[in-house]
Symmetry: C2
Subunit: 217 residues, 2 copies
């Protein structure tokens, strides 16, 4: 029997398991590709990117979407301020550069999940064209579903669950989107919704109409 | 019918879908927890952390482990230099601080995958106690499986597929682990193996012996 060497280019001899592995995986010396992971999970991996003002309903919709997908048998990952700013991005502040880096890292992480076949749900203000275009470019336009939660600022400010608008109006938060920093409306999002006067069910149904056909295997 | 408000604390009325969702998910206003994701995928999420010199066989083992798990029905994510240094960490150099930040981000990303129920396979030199302890702390000791690929440096240097040892010996790479920067041997890894004179099959079988019981649901 021919000797095998311990390298990426394994010398293959007949009737051994290395041969079997190579038959099953033509890509045995590469990472298993996205298509194989998607087949395994029976879903198409996409990034559902919610953008909108603080208080617009992004997190509520993202959390609800995660549950709606789960009960339909889809495996997803929700990224939001809670698990990002307290973890990988806890060394980032809120300067213009830090905000770009924040979204860059989120987009790169989303890409890792997509390559793993996972539907990724993101809820971040992501207020500028520049920042959203960067995310879309990193993730790949074909994998990027942009949902603009366009709830009027008066409604967002009235909700103000975290008291951030109040602080921004008092000048205690600088560069707060909608108050003293601009929110640039997305030009052609896959979906635009306002959550004003709507139930979560009404809003999530609109989201599902867009998302389900794109992730169905 | 009582009105529902669009907040995280949805007012629930009888016989509507919000009620159903809450019954299924007591955690409907939080991210679906790791245990539910693991049940869904029928696996326990762990991080398999390969540490060792360049050329020791980490990547070969990591790539092979991914395939072995896949054919057994486990869903995993492999993180290595290829998808990390060219993506999320492409803005990091190789200073001492940058190396710590490199591993910190990798550990945080691993944690996101583990929380999503995914087995995560990492192959990084991670040469110091400090760096590996940090990773273990971020990921959680209960989720961390440390495999020390302790192949003699002479063997690693002979392989030298990327020509890095040669460059380091010529002084063209500074702080190259094993040549002009130390590798601190792990004190109590879950497994220690040398790939010297072994086939990939022989080595991976030892890895599987340790890994499979820990990820089995």
């Amino acid at each position: 029997m021919e000797l095998k060497r311990f390298t990426k280019n394994i010398l293959i001899t007949k009737n051994n398991s290395a041969m079997n592995i190579e038959n099953i995986f033509p890509f045995f010396d590469k990472v298993i590709p996205q298509e194989e992971k998607e087949k395994f999970l029976k879903q198409r991996a996409k990034v559902i990117w919610f953008t909108g003002l603080s208080g617009s309903g992004k997190t509520t919709l993202a959390l609800r979407l995660e549950k709606e997908l789960f009960i339909r048998g889809f495996h997803s990952k929700l990224l939001d301020g809670d698990n990002i700013r307290s973890g990988i991005n806890k060394n980032l502040g809120f300067s213009a550069e830090a905000r770009v880096e924040n979204i860059r890292r989120i987009a790169e992480i989303s890409k890792l999940f997509v390559k793993c076949g996972i539907v990724t749900i993101n809820g971040f203000v992501s207020p500028t064209h520049e920042i959203r275009n960067m995310a879309k470019e990193i993730i790949g336009a074909e994998n990027f579903i942009e949902i603009f939660v366009n709830t009027p600022i008066e409604v967002c400010e009235k909700r103000d669950e975290k008291g951030l608008y109040k602080k921004a109006r008092e000048g205690k938060i600088l560069d707060f989107t909608g108050v003293n920093a601009p929110f640039e409306h997305p030009v052609s999002p896959d979906l635009e919704i306002s959550t004003e006067g709507k139930t979560v069910e009404e809003s999530i149904n609109k989201v599902l109409e867009i998302v389900l056909p794109r992730i169905k295997y």
